[in-house]
Symmetry: C2
Subunit: 202 residues, 2 copies
């Protein structure tokens, strides 16, 4: 870019800025803000809490797609059957920023640090769900979300939630839901949950 | 496995077989079929026709996820703005089989060879859609699918469909739909379309 070139920037908190380059120094660029436009928050605040997969690529993929679909917060939870207990937040944050820019969005999802399963149960939210395959099948997430303003869905590890975790979630008001009749990979389930909520609140 | 071990197999055409190993030779295994169970076809036959992305990984990812979500056919289309005109069908087929097994399904999607954009327009289908960002926005795919038994959605390349392609599709009865207010990557749009149809027909 050269002095006088225009570009658009976002703070990831709902505002786009129209900018013009005023000075270029080595590795640095100054600019003026010529105007701004705000984009309202999505009508539903979507929070997905997922037990990270062994393969980190799958989590990176999920963060990219969830950002495109429109998620407000992504948390990572350490469950009884979790095969991975460490994530690379910085890298996931960069992927989310890149996906936000790619899809021309002004809202960046918050990537929260790994927490214990029990800690997420105290998260404040209007509608709280735990997704797992139950027999007989639970109602579909699509049919359990109404006009709430915020929703949290828990997505378990490859080995699913433990019975104790499911009971603990139920005791804290989490509703058991299914995402379809078939077994889904962890990251697929998480994206499907995010998209189901995005569809309902579109 | 040893002689006498039991396993389950599927033909990918709706039948699961309960099998027992009868003989193991070098690199070969014979088995008897002890019983079978059929799984009905999904109520909606979902066909996604996509212009392949430059990066083949993104197509492999799409095939895996589309199989999990429940797609009946995946076609690849060569569009005016397509950046890739060759796909590796064999590899995509293997990925679909692996995803079918992973999600314990008895239906394998058909992976069709690359065809010209015009050829896909003659495909027979009850509900036909072309997804692209329009101004003002078109209706959402979710609101345009009703009780049809089969649906085809066309997903364009990174550079979108050309105006001539959109006009040609409209002339053949394809309905323009959106998949949300934001720009989506090609493979994300394709999966979102597949999941939207799967949700409606669940």
């Amino acid at each position: 870019m050269q002095v006088g070139d225009k570009f658009e920037a976002t703070d990831g908190r709902g505002t786009f800025y129209r900018c013009v380059v005023t000075e270029i120094k080595r590795g640095e660029c100054n600019f003026d803000i010529e105007g701004s436009a705000t984009v309202g928050k999505p009508s539903l605040d979507i929070h997905i809490a997922i037990s990270p997969t062994k393969n980190l690529d799958r989590m990176e993929w999920f963060v990219e797609k969830a950002t495109e679909v429109g998620v407000n917060q992504i948390s990572f939870i350490e469950c009884h059957h979790s095969e991975r207990r460490i994530i690379k937040e910085d890298r996931l944050q960069k992927i989310a920023i890149s996906a936000m820019k790619q899809s021309l969005k002004a809202w960046l999802p918050t990537i929260s640090p790994m927490v214990n399963f029990k800690a997420i149960l105290d998260h404040h939210c209007e509608a709280k769900f735990i997704a797992h395959l139950d027999d007989p099948p639970s109602p579909h997430l699509f049919d359990r979300i109404n006009k709430e303003k915020s929703a949290l869905v828990l997505i378990g590890p490859e080995g699913d939630f433990s019975a104790a975790e499911i009971a603990a979630a139920a005791a804290k008001g989490f509703i058991t839901v299914t995402l379809g009749a078939h077994r889904l990979r962890t990251e697929t389930a998480a994206l499907i949950a995010a998209h189901t909520l995005a569809l309902v609140s579109r």
